[in-house]
Amino acid sequence: MGNKPKIAMYWGSACGGCEVSLANVHEALLIIDANFEFVFCPCLVDTKYTDIENMAEGEILITFYNGALRNSENEQMAHLLRKKSKIIIAYGACSKDGGIPALANFHSKEEIYNTIYLNNPSIDNPYSVIPKTVTTVEEGDLYLPEFWDTVKSLDQVIDVDYYMPGCPPEPHQLVKVLNIFLSDEPLPPKGSYLGVGKTTVCEECRRVKTDKKITKFYRNWQIIPDATTCLLEQGLLCMGLATCGGCGGACPEANMPCTGCYGAPQGGSDQGAKMISALGSVIDIAPLKELPESEIPNYIDAILKDIPDLAGTFYKYSLAKSLVNRRVK
């Protein structure tokens, strides 16, 4: 029991979906348990902060850190787990690229507090109470983590060894990755994406792709797409061409466009910018050729108006790691 390599999974600013992806390996959980000792995971195991604090440095072989870093508690845990772990894997979109929580970077801390605690029809807060880091009560001081203005990815706070993208990562990819560490094979170079496909989601998607000439975009509820043609060709905003593969094209397979949860393919590109670049290449230009120069922007804007939240859609999972990663104040 004591000689098995130790693994941990921690959640920062997360939804718990990454833990579900661990539970979703089904029977393989028994194999994981036979080969690893699961020492820390607040969602599933009853070890506490002090148990980790009392561990030797590097005692944990792998920590899967999921969730973005949005407050000082997330940061404190990241530093502690870095010290106690040989390998840190940024697990899931939030930890790798900021994920959904990083969409908050389009707003300031004040705006968020205002909407959540102060100024919202469903809120009853007559004394305008907002969370404070220190609250003094009769019994003494109570502490809360500090809420940051900007959501960060894990590698913006600590040194990260590997990345596993996905919202959440596919369970079969988790099994594949754990097998890497059980085998005698040399480990991949530091900074590698683990459990991913070679290129993009489009490469793995089985739909038929031809020359794309888009004249109108639709939202998912507006049309029922046919089951075999590329969804982008049908006018749905499928992010497959700007998104790292590894999921096997699961969403397009289920008639839903890719929303980009695996982030940009490895190589440091900006997912949203790449999406704009790609759409620029597939929106039909034939009508533009008939228009006078001054009318061209209006015509394009009329097509773009069907994309209600362009930045939020294109950076749905990767805002913390994009080139411009928060709103300018």
Binding site: K274, G280, L288, E293, L323, V324, R326
Partner: protein, 148 residues
């Protein structure tokens, strides 16, 4: 009053850094002609020659802002004149999307500028550079703070 005066002085002395992506076949030739005719225009635009405006990846624009540019200019061939037939239409489409994106990032749309300049239009080139530099001087420094 003192502060306003100080701010006034600050804006006047601000020299914006602007990156200009110019297509090799039309706009760069237009800039060349402006040089040959010794036309005077502000020196704030750092020109990057690209083979086609369609080659301007939106990443180039965002990267320019990230690395401290206060503005970006993309100059293309006139519609119908593209050396590669349609690169400038592609650029026009990407520019319209970039404008939406920049607005959502709180970056003024005017900081990213797109227009058509042919090889013969050195006057238009000078006029656009002068206008854009003046506009961005008016907007002031971008002061983008990016977490790396």
């Amino acid at each position: 009053m003192n502060t306003t005066e100080n701010q006034g002085m600050l804006i006047n002395s601000f020299e914006p850094k602007i990156v200009g992506f110019l297509c090799n076949w039309c706009s760069y030739a237009g800039a060349d002609k402006a040089g040959a005719t010794q036309a005077q225009y502000p020196p704030n635009v750092n020109i990057v020659k690209v083979m086609c405006s369609g080659r301007v990846d939106p990443q180039f624009v965002l990267k320019s802002f990230q690395e401290g540019a206060d503005g970006v200019m993309i100059l293309a061939c006139h519609p119908g004149d593209c050396h590669y037939k349609e690169g400038n239409y592609r650029a026009a489409q990407r520019y319209q999307m970039l404008k939406v994106l920049l607005t959502q990032f709180g970056i003024e749309q005017e900081r990213c500028f797109f227009d058509y300049v042919s090889a013969g239009e050195s006057d238009k080139f000078v006029q656009l550079i002068t206008q854009t530099v003046a506009k961005i001087k008016e907007l002031g420094p971008l002061n983008l703070k990016v977490t790396v």
